[in-house]
């Protein structure tokens, strides 16, 4: 994976200079998540790699890291999917198209598409973990001929948590990719006609070449151990697995220390890690 520690927009007096990001569109999903489309000055592209993140600043409130959810193959504004769980994210949810935020980045080491060229890929997403993976999923769909068989497994706690419903429908109905989904449970006030059960219950249904398929995983912290155990039982070699991990970050540049997993910095060594790199790191919790 390529490591990029310097921001593209290194234009100010120091490395903490953001640029204006104009919110051009928002789209709420049925749960606590909302999609934000953000345009940079002069229509400039973010120039990110799938899996990379930006630092987003809400004036007067704070800043936080967010994985870019749109693929770099999509021209124009980029997209973030944000769950309202803290000060910054709640403030963001109250913002509207026409409002301005600050953007620094892109930062970190993402999924390098060249590494996956010609390979079969299985994406495993849990909950909001689909947001970072969608960047790579849509990349592979947009440049479909460069990759082998594509499969996505998506698990949520309950149906209202599902993101990007239109795209999920396309993935399910189209021929470009095999798509499987599940929810842990369906409360009575919600509708669901798919399978019920935790994500590991549908992974064995997936028809992949376990020896060669690259597996890209992103989900809530509690998910990794179980998914990795399942993949191990299926016979997927550790070396074929890539994880995108989430930690607290304040600088995005390998300095502030909050995101450390043992000696690794998630903001520069990750957030996407080749599994063998973090397998024996106790603080990775994988």
């Amino acid at each position: 994976m390529r490591s990029s520690t310097t921001a593209k927009f290194d234009i100010g007096e120091n490395e903490y200079q953001p640029v204006n990001g104009l919110i051009t569109r928002t789209r709420p999903f049925t749960g606590a998540d909302k999609l934000f489309e953000i345009q940079l000055p002069d229509g400039e592209e973010l120039g990110h790699q799938p899996g990379q993140f930006v630092q987003l600043l809400v004036p007067g409130v704070g800043e936080a890291p967010f994985s870019v959810t749109s693929s770099p193959t999509k021209p124009g504004p980029f997209e973030l999917t944000i769950r309202a769980v803290g000060n910054v994210t709640r403030a963001l949810h109250n913002m509207e198209p026409g409002d301005t935020v600050g953007i620094r980045g892109p930062y970190g080491s993402g999924f390098d598409p060249d590494v996956f060229e010609g390979e079969d890929i299985l994406f495993i997403a849990g909950g909001i973990g689909l947001a970072p993976l969608r960047s790579m999923i849509n990349y592979t769909l947009d440049e479909r001929e460069r990759f082998g068989e594509l499969t996505t497994v998506y698990g949520c706690k309950e149906p209202v948590e599902q993101l990007y419903p239109d795209e999920l429908e396309e993935w399910a109905e189209g021929d470009a990719m095999e798509y499987f989904e599940t929810v842990d449970q369906c409360p009575q006030d919600q509708e669901w006609d798919g399978p019920t059960g935790v994500i590991t219950s549908i992974i064995p249904e997936v028809d992949i070449d376990v020896e060669t398929t690259k597996v890209l995983v992103c989900g809530p912290p509690v998910m990794y151990k179980f998914v990795l155990q399942e993949l191990d039982e299926m016979g997927v070699p550790d070396g074929n697995i890539y994880l995108s991990l989430e930690r607290n970050m304040h600088c995005g540049r390998g300095l502030c220390g909050h995101c450390q997993i043992n000696e690794l910095y998630v903001c520069t060594d990750g957030p996407v890690f080749h599994y063998p790199v973090v397998r024996d790191k106790q603080e990775a919790e994988v």
Binding site: T5, E15, E63, E246, H250, L255, G257
Partner: protein
Amino acid sequence: MKVIDKPEFEALLDETIASDRRDVVGVQDDGEKYVFDDLRSAADLALEYDVTMLSPKKYLMPQRETILEYRDTDGEFEWRAKAEPDGKVIVGIHPYDLVAIEQLDKIFIDTLRDEPYRQKRENSLLIGANMQDASETAFAASMGTATTDSGYDLMLTDLGETYAVNIGTLEGKEFLNSADVRKATAQEVQEVERIEQEDVPDLFERELDFSPALLPTILEENYDNMEFWEDYSEKCLSCGTCNMVCPTCYCFSVDMIRDLGTNSGRESRRWDGCLLEDFASVAGDENFREEVAERHRHRFMRKGWYIYERYGDIACIGCGRCTSECVADVADPCDVYNKLHQEVQAHAQ
């Protein structure tokens, strides 16, 4: 090596205080502790000190500093990164603190550019002072940091009526230009060597039982020794004082601050520390280092192993500040290192 009479050095310093656009700060006795503080007169300088409460890191990476301002003027939204170039003339830095600054330079200037740090550092003049006293919790001699031949612009050694002055940089040499200095005699050069080799090591009451080069290995081998880390951290209050007083700790948090009643404000960064309970927590109830034993372990691993892996430095310089300032009286790296070494030896037998 140069030699300057003490009154001549004091006159030079007073002249600097009067004319240099930078603040001149130096070690002073504030009645209870030695501290680096603004120097009003060279006569206030206390170079015979044991240790200062905080290291001069506080001038290069202040406890709080603005790194960004924002303004909303009639719909025109503007962010402006800040890097205050307020370097200082810092007088009386002990060698271990110079070593710590060199480590920060490697990270904040040479490896990952950090403009707020770089501006302050490159505009500062560092005048070191060889140790004449040591705190009872210090073990710098064991860490190889009780003397240093780099990291300073000038280095003073007290020779009674005079200071021997080692020149480390051109800027240091130019600082002496207006003063009456002479070349050191062979006896004076030998006397400085003798002080560094004999007097300075004798100042320390504590020592490591092994070479610090073994630290990364010893820490790695004790990573899973949770019984040790739990025992050690049992009385810890998670106050983070050990982080705050450490000259090599550089973790920080960034806060957004709104100027009340306006559409403007700033981002300010402040010291933060891995012993504080929420240091590794993320929004949504997840704390990746929830147990105090995990936080202690992380701090030690970082000091003696992780930073070494990344930058080649042992990030404990043996100043003993964490031990002397610990509120619960538990922080004691020298004792921890020696015990971990014993554990490894016991395990090997």
